[in-house]
Amino acid sequence: MSAVSFDGVSRHFGPVRAVDAVSLDIAEGEFFAMLGPSGSGKTTCLRLIAGFERPSAGVIRLFGAAVQDQPPYRRPVNTVFQDYALFPHLNVRDNVAYGLMIAGQNRADRHRAADEALEMVRLSGYGARKPSALSGGQRQRVALARALVMKPRVLLLDEPLGALDLKLREQMQDELKTLQRQLGITFIFVTHDQGEALSMADRVAVFNEGRILQTGTPETVYFRPDVPFVADFVGSSNILPAPLVARLTGTHAAAALRPEALRIADAGPLRATVTALSFLGTATRVVLEAEGTRLTALLAKGAPRPAPGDTVALAWDAGDLHLMAGA
């Protein structure tokens, strides 16, 4: 039985089709990412699961039961909000204990549970502070504890790391992953950062304009995108147009070729002119132009570097050229 399933779910706001006939199954215990550009409907999907929005059409099931007529407070899911949504008038402990208080637990019990949850997110000792006295990362963890203390069967996270800076973000990525593995809860999280989705999720759904274009493991969507949009959005792929691919391989279809798969070689199927070089630290990015198509190659440290204006030959392993369905 799926933890969450969508069956032809739509949510329209007037003319805007925020979510458009989406069907989806998320297994219990999965770490599931919703990835897509801004406005593609990810948040709306999450809100449909939580019950903050009601579908215009379709059926939403949680563990088999249709829930679209149930208000949020009757659903076994909890949410970590993008802006954390901590209650400013309550201290950290009371924030975490809020759900238990509503559920009618007595003061001592709920405070004990809250302290445990705070310990889990490594914030013991912060219980008496007001949320405004915490840093962004700490607030984020309080929000997490507040949701986890309810022991939800599904945890929803909306861009949980969006507001954090790079260092903190990497750290929280690791923590979330560890936590999910420990608790075995289904995590569904929304992001528009492909790196985050790829590195954290068991499965990724790529959204665009209210629809899901592809669902699969990070490796699948990265290496075997179904359509150019996915290839382009998940990592910055080179997209070779169909006529060029036809000439190179005989098949008339667009193809994706990852920048790190492109090699500058002595000889190869394609000749290109170097237009720009930039140093990225771990690698050097080379921008090339080949038969009117702009290509990017990533040269590992130690590889020979061409100069702008040079004409070079490009080679790749046949298996790296991924043919796609869409034009």
Partner: protein, 268 residues
């Protein structure tokens, strides 16, 4: 942040503006102590405290003060309820006519007081409602709604909608959310709005002249006294007390709403 040093001309202009706003009020304070009770002789020939005692012993002042306080209290209560409901509805959804509702709330202060006053009076007349304490309250509450509404709407706007969702997500129904999240968060704004509404009602004279029958609120009493003074310094004393008394709610409102951005809008 630009360099913080203001040009001298700006300082002078701003300072002169503030002086212009305050000197006339200070003047009343001085006149409350004058020994001359017949004319506006300047400078006052002498200073005395006796007018405070005289005022204290005037029953008509106390009656008017009591009425004003009652009217202001009840009007504020009504305005609090109506203004909060309206603000909640308006900030909740982009429903059709939302602009119209805002306009409707603003109308009673955007239209001149005489208009509001005479309109209400003609309705009372047509509906044969006799003038009473409640007709005064009706008029006051109508234009007080907007202050509460403005304060509440601003706070609702700053209180992120996800707070309500978070509460429901954690199992609270609408009423529990109202009690445990919404009210605590907008309480200071409501208090501030209520205080301003109180001050507004306490000071109102134009609408009141139309909606009061024989009742004298303090401003009406003052108006009568200004036009046909019996003991001018008594009016001055009352005027000074009124300024000091209205100052308190304003100070309160200021301290309640000051710096609340950080509290209610955290996370962004």
């Amino acid at each position: 942040m630009p360099s913080d040093r203001a040009p001298l001309s700006l300082k002078i202009a701003a300072g002169a503006g503030l002086l212009f706003l305050h000197l006339p009020i200070l003047l009343i304070f001085v006149y409350a102590f004058t020994t001359e009770d017949k004319s506006y002789q300047w400078p006052p020939p002498g200073l005395t405290l006796k007018w405070f005692a005289v005022t204290w012993n005037r029953p008509d002042v106390w009656a008017a003060l009591r009425l004003s306080l009652q009217v202001a209290a009840i009007s504020t209560a009504v305005a609090l309820v109506l203004g909060t409901l309206c603000a909640a509805a308006v900030s909740r959804a982009h429903f059709f006519g939302r602009e119209t509702v805002s306009l409707l709330v603003i109308l009673p202060i955007a239209l001149p007081g005489v208009v509001t006053g005479i309109a209400l009076r003609s309705v009372f007349h047509i509906a044969e409602i006799p003038f009473s304490f409640w007709t005064i309250v009706l008029g006051h509450a109508t234009f007080c709604v907007v202050v509460v509404y403005n304060n509440a709407v601003a706070r609702f706007r700053r209180t992120s909608g996800s707070l309500i969702e978070a509460s429901m997500d954690l199992g609270a129904d609408s009423f529990q959310t109202l009690r445990h999240v919404l009210l605590p968060n907008i309480a200071t704004a409501l208090l501030a709005g209520g205080m301003l509404a109180f001050a507004l009602s306490f000071d109102e004279v134009i609408v009141t002249t139309f909606t009061a029958g024989q009742q004298q609120t303090l401003p009406i009493w003052m108006l009568e006294e200004l036009v046909r003074p019996r003991q001018r310094p008594v009016t001055n004393v009352v005027a000074m007390v009124v300024v000091l008394v209205t100052l308190l709610p304003i100070l309160g409102a200021y301290y309640l709403t000051r710096g609340t951005d950080a509290v209610a809008g955290q996370g962004k």
